[in-house]
Symmetry: C2
Subunit: 353 residues, 2 copies
């Protein structure tokens, strides 16, 4: 492992994250839930949604934008549809509750749709879609987010990176979790935090809409909507299914983990579909396996060794990092240990630390 | 209007399409439905899904891949979920029926999800999402299609252009209908049919995966998945929600309007969400208007005059073409008149015809 990174095993990192959260005043059960979601993202290689988020989570708690003691409440329930108000509690606790309701509604109706408002950052969407999938449902999860993306043909930040996520029950065949920008903005933040000198072309534009590969310019500029106008269309679709329907903050009225003067007031959508209403679950899984194997049987395009399906890179990372430990950049580790120091939390011993 | 195009008013084009379909043996009510859906696409400027499809629809009927006399049947209904078997009937008739069921289920449960198998080409997805929206529901429609797209990093055609479509109830604020490729493949066919010399960069690759702007090379090559791996992920998501769930043909087992030896066996998904279960519909519409106006208020990026929202280009086209008539390329018009001749159907008099 490069000396630019420390290395830590997942259980130790989870305990550390858990301690930091408890140090910040988060109740034990919630602290463990949040720690689990963050380290799961690190294991999957999605470091942008891993423990580095603790830095901003703790700032949000200190700024009282997140109320660690509130869990939210049901605003309305009507057939298969529920509206949940998160009361600015911790996003992961709100999301865990919303998933449970979506599962209950899907057991009753075949589909359950829960839309949350006044929620806060819930980590990676994949955790929640996977929770729905583990219970036997096709899980679809979306959320709106801080307005950091200009609509296509525009230059003012109006939309979040508004991700679309889908997981399926059964063996590992497919797991989609994608921002509707070319890349999630946290990857640009991570590049800056880690001191990287450039980012790939197509990730971002400067403030006037010109392409850039400089991380600092990109951070001050605009992320690129996926494929141009279609990415913008998908981002608005997510905004509708989450924030228009929730009655919560929309577009530029959403705060964010790096916004200190207002609560995040994010909206999130949790959709559970009972595949068993269409066919037995084992048949569904066999058909998923057929899709997986067929797609992966394609001859690689020139320049590639194999065809990957959504989820593959993350499952490979998870296997490797469960075995070899999780690399955390020295820059992020320094911030985490400083945070731990302020909260009087012990820092674990790590390789290259 | 350029002499490369004939011009015809929508009612006359609808009557002509209707006559051709009846001439091909389609029952009157269904012929009119199909004609309406095709001309609606022409009006919206989506000529790839307009009357040019009649050429292939009639071939499919003649090849007995489409049974004009069958309407399909309910395979199962369970809570808010319905599985519909189209029995290889006309896709528009099947879709019309499925939308009615989705609306009925959404009235009962708040959400209705109908998945059809053994369906055939249903025209533009937007027609069906708009039908759901006209009845007061958020409409989401997806379908799988002929395997013409290689998965990202692959070179074998495994996936369809698998569109994602969403319409909302109330005044015109947002209407998304997008292939999960950079552009719908029919736009490449149209470029070839219309004798265009080049297509924009980024639309397609040659058979080995190298970018091309030549329409013929593109037609023989591979359409580009939207934004690379994310477009492939979305296409597989659509394949799951349509074809895995339907029990119908998947991936390379799907036929197509240009495939003569097997029925198309497409799968389609119709999701109706009752926004009124979350808030009064007029509040929903006000919130949609806020999203629309906020996004459109963005300063344009350099090189652009204004920000467009999904649906804008098509509504503008519809207004202009309702007034000025619909342009049809001479190449397509020649094929349609030849088809009409074979079916002994009168050809309307048109400008530049």
């Amino acid at each position: 492992m490069s000396p630019e990174f420390i290395t830590i095993q997942a259980p130790a990192l989870t305990r550390f994250a858990d301690s930091i959260l408890r140090g910040a005043g988060v109740p034990a059960r919630t602290a463990r839930l949040v720690a689990d979601t963050l380290v799961a993202a690190n294991l999957r290689g999605v470091d942008s949604h891993g423990v580095q988020l603790l830095i901003w989570y703790c700032e949000q708690i200190a700024a009282r934008n997140v109320d660690v003691l509130r869990a939210g409440h049901i605003a309305s329930e009507n057939g298969a549809c529920m509206l949940y108000d998160g009361d600015n509690g911790i996003g992961q606790l709100i999301s865990d509750t919303c998933c449970d309701h979506a599962i209950r509604l899907a057991k009753d109706h075949g589909i359950g749709m829960v839309v949350a408002r006044n929620s806060t950052h819930f980590g990676a969407a994949a955790w929640w879609a996977q929770k729905l999938a583990r219970e036997g449902f096709i899980g679809m999860v979306m959320c709106n987010a801080t307005a950091l993306v200009a609509p296509w043909q525009g230059r003012d930040k109006m939309l979040g990176t508004n991700p679309i996520c889908m997981a399926v029950p059964g063996p590992r065949t497919f797991l989609l979790d994608m921002a509707t920008t070319t890349v999630a903005l946290n990857r640009v933040f991570k590049a800056v935090l880690s001191g990287e000198k450039s980012i790939p072309a197509g990730w971002a534009m400067d403030a006037e809409g010109n392409p850039t590969t400089d991380p600092q310019t990109a951070l001050a500029g605009l992320p690129m909507p996926l494929g141009g106008y279609k990415g913008s269309g998908l981002a608005v679709m997510v905004e509708i299914l989450c924030a228009v329907l929730s009655g919560g903050a929309m577009l530029t009225n959403v705060g964010g983990i790096r916004v200190k003067d207002i609560p995040m007031s994010a909206s999130q959508m949790f959709l559970a579909i009972d595949a068993a209403r269409f066919m037995p679950l084992d048949e569904f899984s066999r058909r998923m396996q057929f899709v997986r194997e067929t797609v992966k049987s394609s001859r690689p395009a020139s320049g590639y060794d194999e065809v990957l399906i959504a989820g593959d890179p993350e499952w490979r990372s998870e296997e490797a990092r469960l075995r070899d430990g999780i690399p955390v950049s020295q820059g992020i580790w320094k911030e985490l240990t400083a945070l731990a120091g302020r909260l009087k939390v012990a820092v674990p011993v790590v390789a290259n630390g």
